[in-house]
Structure formats: structure tokens, C-alpha cells
Symmetry: C2
């Protein structure tokens, strides 16, 4: 990985979006950061930047030859009291795309190189300013769009999760020491007492890890949004509903800034909870392979969803049974929250009474098929009728037991995987104890668990791991 | 206008785009700026912000109740050494949309209000930090995307244009004094000598104003891009050509940040010159009114264009004459630079020789019709063939005699209009002199010219003028 080799270089990057706005910020960090900025900066008054005090701002101009590129403010941060821990400077310029580009070009010409995504945060990690879990939380914090996602990221950034891991690791180290003590005294008959005590300690750590693993489902949903799959036959109004829900609340798509989502779906913030809506192709029974792929994709979306919304067409009562059966028979549907929406209430003859009857029919058919819908309601996707109630039901359907800032939630796939591996190792230790496996083999498994917990905070890391993590950051962070 | 009444309020706004990025900047300005930020900010160490020194940065947290919204840096600027001239603070937070919103809400709750677009710059103007032409240049600087546009804006922001205006105004004031002196001595026979001298002074100022007025055509083109209208019959490949030219060089659309363009066209930066491409409907002769509107729109686009690109289909040689005649007959076409592009070279049989023949036919037909095309060339809009040569010709076709930073160019419509009015007033003075109009009426016309020149720098202003100017700024500036 290039930037690992070059960690003594001075790097620079735009830290604000590369579009025009009142102000843009360009970050420079590395041993030559201040001298490089000094070489292109003419202060309005006073001595050169090199003589400036840390955490002060200087007004001046940035010149390219004789022509002024911009009047800017430069903020100085002397090592180690900077984000990266290195000497750093931040240039606050007018937010013109031309000026952004010109200043970066001048910095390149003066010896700085373009920072890789996340390189400032990686340097902060490598310089001991934060551990790996904290650095990852910075990226989560930046992409947080709801209060809950923000809270998880903030807690992780401030080290709450790291402290919990550190506690568990010292418990396990304690355990290893005791077991190695047992090895030293293996001549004497101390085993039985120790094993019971060890078992209690081990169970304690295991429970903590299991709690963290369990929290991932909620943490992930909070971070990425509750996945909602909209399904139903063609022309039942799935896309219309999606568009109505998105309305003006459509989330700002954050893909351009290198956040972690691999594909874009439509995320809507409803009462502080993010919902990720996934439109699906209609499910049709067919033997044609291309259709089967479509079905498999729909199943995959249903499988990943927390909420499944089945759309029924109020004008086609005779199709209700088939649509409902398809969900009931689907191998992908298990314990998701089911919404049954009888659409097109506007065009229905017979008004509310008829709609109530159709909803009741849909509910009976569901129960017959072994489904227990959370909600069966009439809506008009086209005229937004019932949309408010639907949103309310969506929020109330989420039993998001995230009580507050004291709850530790795991929201990072990498952390979740490391915790699973740590748990596996501890399970091997317990099995080993049950089967009287030699103590030195047991300690090896505990060290394995320690390794995986250490990976989370970055005490154990490889260039590959760091590369994977930081390449997902946005530029300038 | 609301913000004129409230100029003692403390205002705040996001100064970076409202999308996620590494850093966001929130500006706060007004007499209570520092105390308001202080009320939501807990410094990591040291005294409160109120005791902080100007142009220093403080690290700390912003809290909402007990929960930390973000760890931020706050920069302090004490009056008058700030952008607005007022006490100001800038908050540098993590660039999450959630955090941006929360911090703004906390500032509102603490007594700041949302700044109107351009309100920071308007306050800078009202506090005498810059004149009106300089404030307008700030907006131009931010939206500048080419080197030339940047240079005009920078020169204007640094006061080059204002100094020129100031020179002309003191000349005119001098003139008025002399004329009023003549009035005082009207008994004596001093008129003849004075008039000659006055005439020379007047002509000097008039020449300067005329030069500035003449520079507007170039200044406007540099600021907004050279307008290029692409015309031709349907299916000649107009849209394909436009897409090929735009390619990956498509300018970042800056409408979301309240720049001055009223409608979005496609701007491409070719070798440092911005070209604004305008696709048109085909011109067809018809009596139907709806078609006439289309034609009138096309004429309007041709009228406003500096370059007209006529597309001909190489497969339809027999349509060349009609297409060329339409341009020649168009009341909208006068001295624009004409490009004739024979499209679809790819599908032509006979290769280069045949293409040369077709180009030669098109040129002959043009000359017969009284047109003198700058370029007649074969291209393939579809396969990008000839595109490089076309771009070269576009740049060379622009006789942009903008020699450097010493040239004063007027690029602002408001300034142009004020200069025209000033010139009109001075013309009235000259006419008056020729017709021996009484001196006191002549001085009235000179004062009229002074009024219009004063409007440019804002010495004469109304709330309406200010409202019009600053409402076009982006938020946070």
C-alpha cells in the first residue's frame, strides 16, 4: 500500500466537497506541512508562518508567481497537538472550484502529495492519537444522518467501545496468567479450584462478547437504516409508493464522498429512524432462467429485510390469495415484520366500508397462510392517502431498544466478525475444559481470542487491514 | 427586506456545502457571536471562549444537554478584524449532515438566526470592510471556474475597478467645482477658456467609461462562458455533439449554491476558456403558432450566441442549401462566428476525399448566401472524430484579447448598466455645451453621472439594490 511506505511525506487534500460554496478547507499534514504552506503564502502582516504559534490563524494571500490566487486564512497546528499528531496547516480559502484546484496544484509543486482517502485519520492512528475503532468511528460520524447513528459513532469515537474491549482483554490476560501459573504449579493439586474460577471469568467475558455480537443487528440497522423490501405483483404501485415515501425527505446521497455503502438505495429519515427502502421486481413463478434470477434477487432482498411490505391492488381482489401465498411460501420470509398494503383506495367503489372489507379479506388470507401481518391497511400511493399512518406504523413496528448513550452497540461489520472469531475461540476453551484438554492448548485459544479483540482496536494490524479500512474514508479525513 | 432591519442580530450559517465531507464550517457573526458559541461550547482546557484571543482556535465539544454533538475547533475573530467587521466565530465540525443540522439548531436556540444569502458580505459592506463592487466580486470569485473569470473577480475584489471609478469620480467632481466656480464669476468673461478645458476633462472621463462599457462584452463572456448555439435540422446529431463535447469535462453545476445564473446550460472549460453550449430545437418553416414559438426561441438563442454551430448531415447533401439558407435568412444571425460541421463522417462512403468535397460544397453554398464561415469541417459526433480539432478551433475563434491582470474588465450586468447611464448623462453634458445650455443645468447632468458611478461602489444604495445583489450570493458568504 502506497501511503504506508510514505508515511513521512507531507500530504494535502480538500477537506470540504469539491463544489463551489462560501468556504473551502484544504488540509496539509506532515513534517514539512508548515514550511510548504509558508512557501506559497504571503502574510498580510507579521512574521512568516514558520514563526507562527500553534492554533493561531493568519490572514494573507496565496500567490502563483505574481498573481494572487486567493486571500486566505491559514490555521497552524504544531505536532503533537494536531489531528494527525504531525505538524499541520489548514487553509481556509474562497470556495471556488478554480481556487481549490490551483491551491492544491501549488501545494503539489511545493512538495506535498495528494492524501489518500482516510490518510489523515490513518496517520492519527499510526501516531497513537486514536485507536483503530476510534478512527473508524470518525468515518461513521461523518456519514451519520440520524440521531441514533450519530450517538453510536460518537460513543465509539470517544472510546466507549475501546474501553469495553480493553476490560475484556485484561480479563482474558488475567485468565492466561492464572492458567500459566497453574502450569508452573502443575505438580501440586491446584487444578480443580482454579478451573471453577477460570470458568466463571471466561463465562463473564463470553457473555460480554455475546451481548456485543447481539447488539450488531440493531447497531447495523441504526447505522445503515432499517431495510424495508417492497414486494407485490407488477402494477400494484410499488414504485409509486416508494416515490411518495421518498417525497422531499429523500436522503442526500452520500456516495460521492466515499462513505461505506457499496450500493445506493433510498434512505429516508422518519422520526429519527433511518429506513432503507428497496424496490423489488415482482415475484412470478416461471421456469425461464432469467426470471429465476429475478426471483432469486427478490428473495435475497426479502431475506435481508427487517420489514416486508406486500402491495395488493384493491381492484384485483381475486389476486390477493396468490400474492399472499407467494410470501408465505417464500423460503426467504421468516420473522420479518409484514405490512400488507391494499393500494388504490382512491379508485375503489364503496368507500371506507369496502376498503375495510378488503383489508379484512387480506388479513384472513394471511392468517390462513400462516402469516401474522403487523399491519393491514388501505392506502393510495398515488395521492399520498394513508402515507402518514404508514410511516407511523413503520416507526412503531421497530422495536429499537436503544435506550441511550450508555448502551454499547456494535455497528461495524469488521468488529462484528472479529467478535464472532473471539467468541469461537472462547467456545473452544470451554469445550477444552470440558474435555480436559491440556492447559497450554487452552491458553493458545485464549490468545487467539485476544488476537481478535486486539484487531478491533488495531493493536494487531496489517497493512492490508489498514488499507481496507481507510480506503473507505472520504478524502481529506 | 428583513435582514436590513435586523443588522444588529447575530447570524449563523453553514459556509460549506450541506452534504457529508471531512469538515464543515459554520459561521457566526454579530455582537453576540462569541457569547452564543461560548454557551454551547465546552473547551477541552483553559478559560471560556469569551476570554480567548482573536484569531486563535480552541478545541472542545459542543453539547446538547448532556450528549456530545461533536468535538470541534472554534476560531475567534474579534471586531473589527473579521470578515464582517463584527465579532465572529467559526465552528469547524465533522462534516456529517446530522451534526451540521444539530449545531445550527443549538445556535438558533441560543439566540442566533439563520443568515440570509450573502448576509455576511452585506454586513462587511455595511461595516465599511469593502465597497459594493468588491462585495459582488466575492460572489464572482466563488463561482469562478476558469483562470480568466478568477482573474477578473480577484482584481475587482482587490479594488482595482473601485480605484478606477474613484479616479473618474474625482475628475467629475473637479469638473463640477470648476463649473460652479464659473457660475460664481459669471459676470467676468472667463467662459471660453474654461469650456475648452472642461471639454478635455469630460472627454477623458467619457473615454474611460466607454472603454469599460466596451470591456463588458468580453468580461461577460469570460464570467459566464462564450455562448455557443448548436443549430441544424432534426437528426443531424446536435445532442450527440453536445454530449460528446461535455464528455467528462462537464462543469460542476453550481446552481445549488445560489450563484447568479438564472438557468442552467452546459458549461465546458476548454483550455481555460469557458464555453456555454446551448442546444436548440431545429428551425422549421411553419405557420403553426407553437412551431413559431420554437423558432422564436431558437432565434433568441442565436441572437445571444457568440458562436453559431450549424450541423449538416453528410448523408443528406441535398438538405445543405436549405439549412444554410435558414441561417443566412435568420434575422437573429449577424456577426456571430459561424462553424459549419458536416456530421457523420463515419458512415460516409468515399472517405476523406468525399468529406472534403462535402465541406467544399457547404463552404460554397455559405459564401453564395453571404455567410463567411470561420470553419467548415467534417466530424463524427458519435465517435468523437474531429472533436479535438473542433475544440481547438473554438478556442482560436475567440479573439479574447484579455492580456493580463492590468486590463480592467466589467463583467457585472449591474455595473454595465450604471456605466451606460453615466455615459448618457455625460453625453447630455456635451450636447448641452454644444448648445450653450446654462452651466447649472450641465452640473446637474454631471451629478447624475456621479450618482450612477457611485451606485457601482455602493456610495449610493437602497435596500432594494442591496437586496437584489446579496440575495444572489450563496448561503454562508
Amino acid at each position: 500500500m502506497r501511503h504506508m511506505d510514505d508515511k513521512n511525506d507531507t500530504v494535502c487534500a480538500l477537506a470540504t466537497p469539491g463544489i463551489s460554496s462560501a468556504i473551502s478547507v484544504i488540509r496539509v499534514s506532515g513534517s514539512k506541512a508548515i514550511s510548504i504552506v509558508d512557501s506559497i503564502f504571503t502574510p498580510l502582516s507579521g512574521p512568516s508562518l514558520m514563526a507562527g504559534k500553534s492554533r493561531t490563524m493568519r490572514l494573507g494571500t496565496i500567490k502563483k508567481g505574481d498573481s494572487v490566487i486567493d486571500e486566505v486564512l491559514v490555521a497552524l497546528f504544531n505536532s503533537p497537538a494536531s489531528y494527525t499528531g504531525e505538524d499541520s496547516a489548514e487553509i481556509f480559502c474562497h470556495g471556488s472550484t478554480y481556487i481549490q484546484k490551483e491551491i492544491l496544484m501549488l501545494l503539489f509543486a511545493s512538495g506535498a502529495r495528494q492524501a489518500a482517502p482516510g490518510e489523515f485519520s490513518m496517520r492519527a492512528f499510526l501516531n497513537g492519537k486514536m485507536d483503530l475503532a476510534q478512527a473508524e468511528a470518525v468515518a461513521d460520524l461523518i456519514s451519520s444522518e440520524t440521531s441514533a447513528a450519530h450517538r453510536i459513532a460518537m460513543q465509539q469515537m470517544k472510546g466507549g467501545f475501546s474501553r469495553k474491549l480493553s476490560e475484556m482483554r485484561s480479563e482474558l490476560l488475567n485468565l492466561v496468567s492464572l492458567m500459566e501459573l497453574e502450569l508452573d504449579f502443575s505438580e501440586e493439586d491446584v487444578e480443580f479450584a482454579d478451573r471453577t474460577r477460570l470458568r466463571i471469568m471466561l463465562d463473564g467475558v463470553r457473555t460480554h462478547i455475546e451481548t456485543l455480537i447481539d447488539s450488531f443487528k440493531l447497531g447495523n440497522v441504526i447505522k445503515n437504516g432499517v431495510p424495508v423490501a417492497i414486494v407485490g405483483a407488477t402494477n400494484t404501485g410499488k414504485s409509486t409508493l416508494l416515490n411518495s415515501i421518498l417525497g422531499e425527505e429523500r436522503a442526500i446521497v452520500s456516495d460521492i464522498h466515499g462513505t461505506t455503502r457499496d450500493f445506493i438505495e433510498d434512505v429516508v429519515n422518519i422520526d429519527g429512524t433511518a429506513f432503507r427502502f428497496i424496490d423489488t421486481a415482482g415475484i412470478r413463478k416461471t421456469e425461464e432462467s432469467i426470471e429465476l434470477i429475478g426471483i432469486e434477487r427478490t428473495y435475497e432482498k426479502i431475506r435481508k429485510a427487517s420489514v416486508v411490505m406486500l402491495m395488493l391492488d384493491s381492484e384485483k381482489e381475486d389476486s390477493f390469495r396468490e400474492s399472499i401465498m407467494k410470501i408465505a411460501d417464500s423460503p426467504a420470509f421468516s420473522d420479518q415484520i409484514l405490512f400488507i398494503l391494499v393500494n388504490k383506495t382512491d379508485s375503489i367503489e364503496g368507500g371506507k366500508a369496502e376498503m375495510d372489507r378488503l383489508c379484512s379479506v387480506a388479513r384472513s388470507l394471511s392468517l390462513e397462510s400462516g402469516l401474522n401481518p403487523y399491519v393491514v391497511m388501505g392506502i393510495s400511493a398515488k395521492s399520498d392517502k394513508g402515507l402518514k399512518e404508514l410511516k407511523k406504523a413503520l416507526v412503531s413496528g421497530q422495536n429499537l431498544t436503544f435506550s441511550g448513550s450508555d448502551d454499547l452497540l456494535v455497528s461495524n461489520v469488521r468488529h462484528h466478525q472479529a467478535l464472532l472469531l473471539a467468541l469461537e475461540a472462547l467456545n473452544r476453551v470451554e469445550d477444552g475444559m470440558d474435555n480436559s484438554i491440556p492447559t497450554d492448548l487452552l491458553t493458545q485459544d485464549i490468545r487467539d481470542a485476544l488476537f481478535h479483540l486486539g484487531e478491533i482496536v488495531g493493536e494487531i494490524n496489517t497493512e492490508e487491514i489498514l488499507g481496507n479500512i481507510f480506503s473507505k474514508f472520504c478524502i481529506g479525513k
